[in-house]
Amino acid sequence: MNFKFTDEQVKFRQEVRDFLEGEIKQGLWQPTCDAWIMAHDPEFTRRVSAKGWIGLTWPKEYGGQGRSFIDRLILTEEMLRYGAPAACHWFADRQIGGAIVHYGTDEQKEEILPIIMKGEAYVGLGMSEPDAGSDLASLKTRATEDGDDFIIDGQKTWTSGGSNMNWIYLVARTDPEAPKARGISEFFFRTDLPGVSVSPIVDITGGVHFNEVFFDNVRIPKTCLIGEKNRGFYQILNQLDFERSGMERLMANYPLFEALIQYVKETKRNGKPLAEDPVVRSKIAQLKIELEVGRLYMYRVGVIMDEGRAPNWESSMSKAYGTAFEQRLATAAIEIAGLYGQLSPASRLTPMRGMAYHSYLSSKGYSLQAGSSEVLKNIIAGRKLELSAK
């Protein structure tokens, strides 16, 4: 057993921190919550790419760095801690690259991985549909074979990527006759094709990072298929475990936590800093305890991946816990701020740069995206505790 990071890992973390602090000092961006999904900054992504930090864990033969998943978690954790605007490369780096490394053809690896590593693939995840959310297997978007092509028809929703999206990862039905889960395949292609139209969804904070995407007779070559035809659902299950392990599930509003700590130290009530109010102290210490335990759930997933195993219930636990934690953090922050907690980021008097307000609203979605907490608990109950209905 060993709970320490290696010297190299400590050094790497420092390197990432130095880089990000330098960026902030130069005023290139301001830390925000949910920056991983909301803050699109192609320039930042290019600079991250230049550091070699996209595709960190991919094999060197494909141009990756061949580094460990713990290294990648360290990178992720610092990106989130500093609220860095990483949304442009996030999904390509976290999800698509891995899928291609795992299931892609040699051609796909040669063609697509470099685009991702250069930070040029702003990827939307085209999974959910209006009637297929938690129940992904019931999706209706069709991919029909036609010679060397597939023809795509249908609609996706909650497709990430905002207005920058130029590539889409798509899950579609390739065999309508097969049992639900057995007729699904994965695709990856550019969105500037005829027949693709995108309509942004404005979220509860006013932000735009999800889209509805419509496919009307969209023709894509068969080379866009990832992995095996009709095996997509099973490939995805794997990728979802991976997606769920993302550090963003615990730390998307880490900048809020830091701001909250500063706020209670600096804000006086009845002449004393809020930090001396025992109820506030106790609440913040409790959050700290929960955050640190959350990091353990999280790093455990990294450890498992570095052992070459696929994370399973461990990533479901990590995600369900992490999103619940973030909601508790946001709720605590807005409560501690009292009337000031109601002020929007646009207000001059807003404490914590409006992040309490923002996170209180945006964290509602955390426990829904990428596996609702209920689905995750079902998974843990079934896969690990072996509890099932008769």
Binding site: S138, D203, I204
Partner: protein, 377 residues
Amino acid sequence: MDLVLTEEQEMLKKMASDFLTDKFPKTVVKEIEETESGYSPEIWKEMAELGWMGLVFPEEYGGVDMSFLDLAMLLEEMGRACLPGPYFSTVMLGGLPILDAGSDKQKQEYLPGIASGKTIFTLALTEASARYDAAGVEAKATADMDGYILNGTKLFVPDAHIADYMLCVARTSDEAKPEDGITIFIVDAKSPGISCSLLKTIANDKLCEVVFDQVKVPKENILGEPDKGWAEVKKIVERAAAAKCCDMVGCLQEALDMTVAYAKERKQYDQPIGGFQVIQHYCVDMFTDVEGARLSAYQAAWMISEGLPCTQEVAIAKAWASFASPRVMALAHQIHGAIGCTIDHDLQYYTRRASADGVTFGDANFYREVVAREMGL
């Protein structure tokens, strides 16, 4: 004990619900939220014609002489409809305090305007400390020959930007106890020296920062007794908190109803999600919270209506509503799934308002402390 509404109350609620549903579809709420004024003068006039502004005022001032409890029922429907505008400010924070503590002359001067919907009122109480205790009042009013000069900054003042008058709470003398030396003034909102700017808030509810810079107020504009205003302020806050609870009951009930309806309609895994036991229990937990909010809010409103002392009952109701509302709304979102997190979905109106309502006139911690004191702790 009897928990049944009177026939009049049922009718009032029904009428209010019909009117508000008709006039305030969420598209209209959204439009109004986005205007600077934050209300629709046309519908405001119609509400006045229905007698809503004068609901609790005696007939001699143009009111219809109904009870505080009746008003509470109306507020519940307003909460349910997400009514935007200065109704609460005008009636609860302006009219009732004047009816309570005003001289005959003041009542005659201001109440008919309120009852007829001509005058908009508000209360300028909280300041930088953002607390509802006496120590938070730092604005100063210094006696001048024919009146007082007001100086200070008030924060989170609802609807001040459209108000004709404000009740402004200020310190008129420095005493050992923060509760002493406080006076309430009726201030003409167009007085020179008043500047007002809108704060951007989660509920888009038009809270303002109001700066009083050498604002002259005539002596006869003191509401109640000089230096002894805190007792009335406490009463205003207590009553407003109880009223806010009724508002919140409407808000949370609607969120619950929407959620239960969605759970019956939304299908996943070939069945309505309301068929899953976990979703059922979530709904029951929400329902239990809402019922607790309702019973405690009605109790508080009824006691105020009867003129009974009810500091503890109000504290219980507001604490409950304030701590229950985030968990009710969290479950509402959890059941609605991603669709509930979009700006175009009706749920978000309730999420934002519930959040604002929770802290307005005291949050759960504030009222836990009140309860502790009432318990003799």
